[in-house]
Point group: C2
Chain length 152, copies 2
Amino acid sequence: MVDILHRVGIKSSLDEVYKALATRESLAAWWTKDTQGESKVGGALQFRFSDPDGVELGGFDMKVLELDRAKRVLWQVIEGPQEWIGTKISFDLRQEGKYVMVLFKHAGWKEPVEFMHHCSTKWAVYLMSLKSLVETGKGAPNPDDVKIGDRD
Amino acid sequence: MVDILHRVGIKSSLDEVYKALATRESLAAWWTKDTQGESKVGGALQFRFSDPDGVELGGFDMKVLELDRAKRVLWQVIEGPQEWIGTKISFDLRQEGKYVMVLFKHAGWKEPVEFMHHCSTKWAVYLMSLKSLVETGKGAPNPDDVKIGDRD
């Protein structure tokens, strides 16, 4: 098993960062505009993506496993690309001075396939979008996301 | 052992991307302005970083292990933070239509420590700087790099 790991520091409060990770409206403002479902433990969220021409690229369904206020969010992928199914995505929060440190983990990849390289970079870009949303009020969710290759 | 993996697609030729990874001048234009040494097999490169106030943050010395024209660059860390010593950093290039796919690996971390999370995100940011340098002629090397936390 191999994991994607990231960390960003966001100048904000734990409550604000947690809200950006735990509410559907905020997820739609930094990850993908097409976010549906319910952010509650036992519920599921549907994230869908499209390219700059509006062509649908598919997406992921996540079961919400943990919502620990101001501390931790944990999802498990229940639908999506084969490599993603069963993997877990967590965000752990910690205040450090004026910054909230977000430790991100996308755990449980079976193999370090090339698609994992892509997703690792893309997660970094989206975490920077999360940081921007919380610090400035404006994120860059798909389809307005920063492109790391040609279509996505 | 755990690895940091990334992939970016750069609209360019293999030769141009290779040049950006294999010459001291280009490394200084996307990773850190303070790049010294010789980019030749068996030689060493010294990368040094500073924060926005000019405070030195340290850096890394890399031994150049492979320079495979238009295909691959491989370094090994010989000086730097304890966690980096002995790790290897590779860039593998492949043309795919109008894009050069850069597969990046920072391999051989002993443990997935928090510093590794930070470095993973920061590598993504610097690879986007590499992409920008090659595609537009302008990168964002340290100390003008995109900050992911407070000082770096």
